[in-house]
């Protein structure tokens, strides 16, 4: 029996304070992944009045089983790394809100940020670090059957498919990682991949090949998910021939990459065609006083160390902006 103890959550000393809708902060940070938490540490060390709003603490890192390319740790599991980040943030008396998402932001000399529960917070500068979430297929049955056989988070839900048959959509790194996790518990795994071959890293493909209960359908996409209360089957279309077939399955994991969490800022800041926020090399958006960092931005390559670095940059730019204003 393993115990994934998060010691920092119980630290007697948490210096943060509840967010205060009555005041105007210097900086508001949206998001509590590596980008947002790094920005928080930098802002607090610079002494600017800061609050951070976090829907799910840790972001994608909390859903990652092992990290082996964040310098300083040869190997660390995602939750442990998030714990270390938290420990560093919680030492400051930062304004703090966890569990609420931002639904809208407005620009102006004073920016405002609306939360899920309707509260409105205000600040002079804004750092958007809301990262990315699992991309949906957008096909019939997907939304209705989510949690009823349609799944995205492998480390959460793979054990529920013990002894069952599952389809994994996607043959890139996330798809193959999911297939590996599932192959050790499920009776049978079928990968449906749009390309003619897997596009994951070689080291992952080698690991996948060590299982004998995995099969693949190439050049194909899933077009419909069918079932009443639970997923029963999926329709798979060959993109070359246009022919459709049915795969009977107990579940389907959708692992086709990620979409930026930027909809609350649409119409406010400029974005590219993938809805990533456009930033310059100092993390500034096209709006004065609004900065963005990490996976939600157009910066290439989405990694923890990159998001952290971008978060630091955004914070320093925001602090400079505040200083110049005052």
């Amino acid at each position: 029996m393993d115990f994934n103890l998060s010691t920092i959550s119980f630290a007697a000393e948490k210096n943060f304070t509840p967010v205060d809708p009555g005041k105007v902060y210097d900086v508001l940070i949206i998001g509590g992944g590596p980008a947002g938490m790094t920005a928080a540490v930098y802002c607090m060390r610079k002494g600017v009045d800061t609050a951070i709003i976090i829907k799910n603490i840790g972001g994608q890192v909390a859903e990652t089983s092992s990290v082996e390319n964040y310098l300083g740790y040869k190997y660390i599991n995602g939750v442990e790394l998030v714990d270390k980040f938290k420990e560093q943030v919680f030492q400051f008396s930062i304004g703090y809100e966890e569990g609420q998402g931002v639904t809208a932001v407005t620009d102006g000399d004073i920016k405002s940020v609306t939360l899920d529960d309707g509260r409105v917070l205000r600040s002079r500068a804004l750092i958007i670090a809301s990262g990315k979430s699992w991309k949906k297929l957008g096909i019939p049955g997907e939304q209705r059957l989510t949690g009823r056989g349609v799944a995205y988070c492998t480390i959460c839900d793979a054990p529920l498919f013990a002894g069952k048959k599952v389809v994994v959509v996607g043959g890139g790194n996330s798809g193959v990682e999911a297939a590996i996790d599932l192959a050790s518990v499920a009776s049978e795994v079928v990968i449906v991949q749009l390309m003619e071959e897997l596009t994951a890293d070689k080291i992952l493909i080698d690991k996948l090949n060590s299982f004998n209960n995995v099969s693949m359908i190439f050049s194909s996409r899933v077009t419909e998910i069918i079932g009443e209360d639970l997923v029963k089957e999926v329709t798979v279309e060959n993109v070359d021939t246009g022919k459709s077939s049915t795969v009977v399955t107990d579940g389907i994991f959708i692992e086709i990459g990620l979409d930026p969490n930027s909809s609350f800022a649409s119409g406010v800041v400029e974005m590219n065609s993938a809805s990533e926020i456009l930033v310059d090399s100092g993390c500034a958006t096209n709006r004065d006083g609004i900065f963005a960092a990490g996976d939600v931005t157009s910066v290439p390559f989405k990694q923890i160390i990159i998001a952290g670095g971008e978060g630091a940059k955004a914070a320093l730019s925001a602090c400079e902006y505040i200083l110049k204003r005052n």
Binding site: M1, D2, F3, N4, L5, S6, T7, S9, F10, A12, P18, N56, G58, A62, E63, G78, V79, G99, Q100, D116, D117, T146, G147, R148, G149, V150, A151, C153, I155, C156, D157, A158, P159, L160, F161, A162, D229, L230, V231, D250, G251
Partner: protein, 214 residues
């Protein structure tokens, strides 16, 4: 064999220092033919040994059927937490709260001991107004990082209002029950058998559902 190694034992001891008053852990078990019962009992006893403020009582499903009835235990292994006065607040764990769930277990112990963060005034007054019976079942997986948050919300609601009961259920220990509720993703929150929420939701969303109950 100890479930916790020395490092974890020391971490647990440190965390349990946050407890204010005593808390009683009741473990419901059965000697044979019960998956995870032995481990859950060992877990309860080991945790209890790490703080002077904790004590543990073990009841047998058959020999102590009156206790099963008294605490409304529906299946075993189960753990019920009682406050310093031995009062039951409807805070239950079905299955061994290992993996990530150790965090919700500790958090519920600490809150049951009286060390609670104040709730925002509007939330507190909404909870107070709930006057019908509410049963919140939170299906979890032990390898799910978001699940403890969902359990903590259910248990806190149970502690705040005696009409509310909150259960953690390990979906992989109670496979048939999980199947009955079509659990293929966790956390899944079932309220009064009828309403379901998928994922960990903040307290206000859970309250929205409770307030909509007929």
């Amino acid at each position: 064999m100890a479930l916790f190694d020395v490092k974890v034992q020391n971490q647990l001891k440190d965390i349990l220092k946050n407890m204010k008053e005593n808390v009683k852990i009741i473990n419901f078990t059965q000697a044979i033919e019960c998956p995870m019962c032995k481990e859950t009992r060992a877990f309860a006893e080991e945790i209890a040994s790490l703080s002077e403020k904790l004590s543990v009582i073990v009841y047998d499903q058959i020999a102590d059927s009156d206790m099963i009835k008294k605490y409304g235990v529906e299946r075993i292994p189960a753990i019920v937490l009682l406050d310093k006065d031995g009062k039951d607040h409807g805070v239950k764990f079905y299955g061994l709260p290992g993996g990530y769930e150790i965090n919700s277990f500790l958090s519920s112990i600490i809150e049951m001991s009286g060390m609670k963060q104040a709730l925002p005034a509007d939330i507190a007054s909404r909870i107070k107004k709930i006057d019908k019976d509410v049963h919140i079942q939170v299906f979890v997986g032990l390898s799910c990082p978001h699940c403890p948050a969902a359990v903590e919300v259910a248990h806190r609601l149970a502690m705040e209002n005696s009409n509310i009961k909150g259960d953690m259920i390990d979906s992989n220990n109670f496979v048939h029950l999980a199947q009955k509720y079509n659990v293929t993703g966790v956390p899944k929150i079932i309220i009064n058998e009828k309403y379901e929420l998928l994922g960990a939701h903040p307290m206000n969303t859970v309250l929205d559902v409770i307030e909509s109950l007929k």
